[in-house]
């Protein structure tokens, strides 16, 4: 009996100090264990941290996956932890009809270099194994948890599980093998009616105790959208009114803020992660300029990002 071997593409986006564009294949060859799980190819995307947080970079990662989608069963992205959730959330929207496993992983910062190297190796092996499954999800794999990426949030503890999520977004756990929780998976064969693009002409505002309404309104001129992060604070009534007035012409998202919730033009969001909400907004305003349509799309689940 022979078992058909799967092909997995590893995209390197940084995370391991010793890896460079020229030595990526050699670094992977030092993990011969990977070859017994699948046929592995690799692409060096970039390791420059400053690039990892730009929409152009996210689209670059998504395009690398899309152009190779027919050849590979699954994709593993090695990525720095700090900006991973932005890239992973963006990919989950840009490729929400791909129907193949896309697994983000990397190296946890540990007390010792040895432990760090061990963790990236174990994470990578777990990720490659998951990338051979039939799993239409964009996930993060760290420690012993497989989590839907656009519902994940960072935790700061000694644990190797650097990301957590609500239980419904835990897609699998590692014990002696990988147990996938089928009931938490998205439906297979999503057909997207959207274009794979982002609009980054967004003004990002954090609610501060001190602000100047006149100065703030100047920042919104010419913007395709305004994203306000409330950080759980109350929004002063005059500021909410300003947003409401603005929202008659430009889409405005008010994320995680204590508000009256009564301004019908504002899009109030508190049921997804910050990274998901911001990237989703950039994705949605790239699809349509119709304010009602934008509001409707922001409030519905497009890639499993809504936390119920």
């Amino acid at each position: 009996m022979t078992i058909q071997r799967k092909k997995v593409l590893i995209l390197y986006c940084g995370s391991v100090e010793e890896v460079t564009e020229s030595n990526l294949p050699q670094w992977l060859q030092r993990m011969p264990e990977l070859d017994i799980i699948a046929d592995i190819d690799s692409v060096y995307v970039s390791s420059k941290l400053q690039n990892n947080i730009s929409p152009g970079y996210w689209q670059n990662v998504a395009e690398n996956i899309k152009k190779n989608q027919k050849e590979y069963s699954g994709f593993v992205i090695i990525h720095p932890v700090e900006t991973l959730l932005y890239t992973a959330s963006a990919v989950s929207f840009l490729l929400n009809d791909l129907n193949k496993p896309i697994i983000f992983t990397g190296s946890q910062k540990q007390d010792t270099e040895k432990k760090s190297q061990l963790s990236v190796k174990a994470n990578l092996i777990n990720s490659v194994q998951v990338a051979t499954f039939i799993l239409p999800e964009v996930c993060v794999m760290f420690g012993n948890k497989l989590i839907r990426a656009n519902q994940a949030h960072r935790v700061y503890s000694y644990s190797l599980n650097v990301f957590e999520s609500p239980d419904s977004a835990v897609l699998g756990k590692i014990d002696f093998s990988i147990r996938i929780f089928e009931k938490n998976l998205k439906k297979v064969h999503v057909v997207s009616r959207f274009e794979s693009k982002l609009n980054n002409n967004v003004e990002y505002v954090k609610i501060q105790p001190v602000f100047n309404i006149k100065e703030m309104s100047q920042r919104f001129v010419g913007k395709a959208g305004v994203f306000v992060e409330g950080q759980g604070h109350s929004v002063p009534q005059d500021l909410e009114s300003l947003f409401s007035k603005l929202a008659t012409k430009t889409p405005v998202v008010l994320f995680d803020a204590k508000t009256s919730g009564a301004e019908k033009n504002i899009i109030y969001i508190d049921n997804m992660t910050l990274e998901s909400a911001l990237v989703k907004f950039m994705y949605v305003i790239a699809q349509t300029k119709d304010l009602d349509e934008i509001k409707k799309l922001m409030q519905m689940s497009l890639a499993g990002e809504v936390i119920y």
């Binding site: 993990m31 017994i36 190796k121 174990a122 092996i125 644990s159 093998s177």
Partner: protein, 197 residues
């Protein structure tokens, strides 16, 4: 040693799997398995939660891995890969006449992995020999000579007084004294030596 035994469920091979577990247990090891077989144990729920909270996998808690891959499964390759990553001695068994993934064969030549991997085709009558050879290999690789297994032993006041008297004014601890006595017993136990041949 704590050994994880993995195999693909098969009614035809069930008695053979049980035999593997029997041999491993009779040699003084505790065995955990993906199969529900006699004498193989499982972690308690409390332990599982503790390891999960620390982000550790259960395989990391084991000393070595034994796989019977007579019936092929993609899971076998994954377990071998993960075990080798954590430098766990691994015995990959497959019945004589069955194929092995060529990538596994290449692992035996790789300097990083060869030291921990034993690939062995077998006929049932030689299973015991191969398993016992592997146990010796695993004890060396796993550094079992270094005392690292901790357990609580309750003793009577009389034994405590004796241990104190025996080690008093020597540079030996009570634990060293007991370890040496047990090592001596193992050396002198011909029946145990015969069993391990």
């Amino acid at each position: 040693m704590r050994i994880y035994f993995s195999a693909n469920e098969s009614q035809n091979l069930r008695s053979r799997y049980q035999k593997i577990i029997d041999i491993l247990v009779m040699s003084g090891n505790s065995v955990m398995s993906n199969l529900e077989l006699d004498k193989s144990a499982r972690f308690s729920d409390t332990d599982v939660e503790k390891f999960r909270a620390a982000g550790q996998t259960l395989l990391e808690q084991m000393d070595s891995l034994v796989i019977d891959a007579t019936i092929k499964s993609p899971e076998n390759g994954y377990l071998v890969a993960l075990a080798l990553t954590h430098k766990k001695p691994t015995l990959f068994l497959h019945e004589k006449g069955t194929d092995v993934d060529s990538n596994l064969l290449s692992l035996q030549k790789d300097k990083n992995t060869a030291a921990f991997l034993v690939l062995q085709d077998y006929q049932e009558e030689k299973l015991k020999k191969y398993l016992l050879e592997f146990l010796q290999f695993a004890e060396k690789k796993g550094g079992k000579e270094i005392p690292k297994i901790k357990f609580t032993l309750r003793i009577t006041p009389k034994i405590e007084r004796y241990l104190h008297w025996k080690t008093h004014n020597t540079k030996k601890s009570k634990a060293d004294f007991l370890r040496e006595r047990i090592d001596k017993m193992i050396e002198e136990d011909e029946e145990f030596r015969r069993y391990n041949k």
